[in-house]
Symmetry: C2
Subunit: 119 residues, 2 copies
């Protein structure tokens, strides 16, 4: 079913571009296939590397490591080394990271609907 001809020209939403579109701003932080999942798994208590590895089945150490590092660099998460033996490292969301939770939540909510729909 197709829509009517070229009709109104009313901009649906304030046409994207204030220079760097806010979408890109945010997607820069959430880029990568695994990133939302990682952030999501940090939404509660801080978690350690190996916990995340098992929280997110099939993620490789390399990728997890790379994403965590990138997220830390961008200020989305903190990385706290705790000097025990063997040493443990805890990751947690920063305030900035917590800002992303609504997005993750929306993604998760929609994903659930899609899953339900597709079986």
């Amino acid at each position: 079913m197709v829509l009517s001809r070229r009709k109104s020209k009313v901009p649906p939403l304030p046409a994207c571009p204030p220079q760097p579109c806010p979408l890109q701003q945010c997607m820069e932080l959430l880029g990568g296939a695994w990133t939302p999942n990682i952030v999501w798994n940090l939404s509660g208590d801080p978690r350690r590397f190996s916990e995340l590895r098992s929280d997110i089945p099939n993620i490789s150490a390399k990728v997890l490591s790379a994403r965590l590092r990138a997220l830390a660099d961008k200020g989305v998460i903190t990385r706290s080394v705790i000097d025990t033996s063997p040493p443990t490292v805890e990751y947690a969301l920063t305030a900035l990271g917590r800002e992303l939770l609504p997005v993750i939540d929306a993604i998760e909510r929609v994903g659930r609907k899609l899953a339900a729909r597709a079986g």
Copy 2:
């Protein structure tokens, strides 16, 4: 998204944690740096190729074309050829595509905050 290599990982829908990993479900549709932007620009009236090109500064024809095709394949948007002269093509969100809007909205809202914060 890039989910395939020799053995194709990031399973179609792995048993993430006990409950949900609908994140991948949704990210499959929103993957790619430009995709959210495209969907966002289709949130109102249907738009044509060249409109999208100017709506989204700096996107190349190739990428726009590729994303539109992928989105159409996934059932997120429709592609309607209108036999005028010169021919016009209109893209619009499907019901499925509209499901994604809350996500886009959240992304945009957060992106705006980030932009304000970072300058």
